[in-house]
Symmetry: C2
Subunit: 174 residues, 2 copies
DNA sequence: GAATATAGTCTGCGTAACAGCATATATTTC
DNA sequence: GAAATATATGCTGTTACGCAGACTATATTC
């Protein structure tokens, strides 16, 4: 890439996106990173019911305050029917509660209990440490760069794919 | 959060890896990107049996020439028992063949048929285009940066986690 | 050549995701 | 304001998928 757009007619320039990469390598690298991270992540949050997803749900509830379960599920890409029993687990563990949503009596709002907030706070430092471990091979500048690019990209995708990842719902509902 | 780690003693410095990130956000962003990409990826390779994984297997066979199924599975993080029927599908589609490994009669080497090579070649431009689409929001410099960082990280993880992703096997076997 | 290790396959189990239906409430239409 | 439609959640049953474990064939070690 970079080599693209040197000619006048554009479409074929798509063929050589990343020098030194075989087409499909990007997904392979991303998968590798994500899987490697999951390992550490899961260890960091082993106290949490439903492991990583439990943590992500609790984190989302606390930091994004989604208006209802749908918004929560949309943010994390979790199907509603799946969400039901995942939340059940967190409720049973006393970490969150389902309260009737103030504006819509069909909906339930998920709120963290005091115990849930405490656990989240405790686990957040472990998760942050896990992220550090993952990024250990990169120096501070590179880590910041990667974080910035990854964030920028995911926001863009997020905007571009309302269907697959309708976090938009979340964004104006939350 | 964010309020923590303001005190002097050092080990807690792990708490604040990525400014503006909530702990766990890295995984969320990566997951979002990967899922967003999978959508396009799957469309690009819809001709391929087993979709993305079928493509990745064929690509690995052609470009890395793994010595046996284990090496192939290790590279992609696919369990041996799963690999068996995934390969079956590719064989049935006439894209690869199992040939006895020259050095070890227990093992089978997976080789692409002519038809498989052709299909791969055809799909690679579509996959490259899908990668481009994914990266569309980034300019050339950013894309190259991201690719470099992602590649560097995945290699490191790869080295650090022989168990979870024993691609090492692949690297000196392939 | 006996014992142990490895490559691949097959079988059965458990989990987890999804489609479809049911219920309660909102919203729109007339 | 009554009927029709849409939405939020929960429940049920089916399906698929990955993985543990057993099995066969071949290598390697002693």
């Amino acid at each position: 890439m970079g080599a693209m757009a040197t000619t006048a007619h554009a479409p074929l320039s798509l063929d050589k996106p990343l020098p030194g990469f075989i087409p499909g390598d990007l997904a392979w690298h991303l998968g590798m990173i994500l899987r490697g991270h999951q390992t550490h992540f899961a260890q960091a949050v082993e106290e949490m019911p439903c492991s990583v997803r439990g943590y992500q749900m609790l984190s989302t509830v606390v930091h994004h305050d989604p208006a209802n379960q749908q918004a929560l599920g949309a943010h994390l890409g979790i199907d509603r029917t799946v969400l039901t029993y995942l939340i059940d687990d967190l409720v049973e563990a006393g970490l969150v509660e389902r309260v009737p949503a103030p504006t819509d009596r069909r909906a339930r709002k998920i709120v963290a209990t005091e115990q849930g907030t405490e656990l989240l706070t405790r686990l957040e430092s472990r998760v942050a440490a896990a992220e550090q471990t993952l990024l250990a091979e990169l120096d501070a500048a590179e880590s910041a760069q990667l974080a910035g690019l990854v964030s920028k990209l995911s926001m863009a995708i997020h905007r571009a794919q309302p269907g697959a990842n309708p976090c938009e719902a979340m964004d104006h509902l939350g």
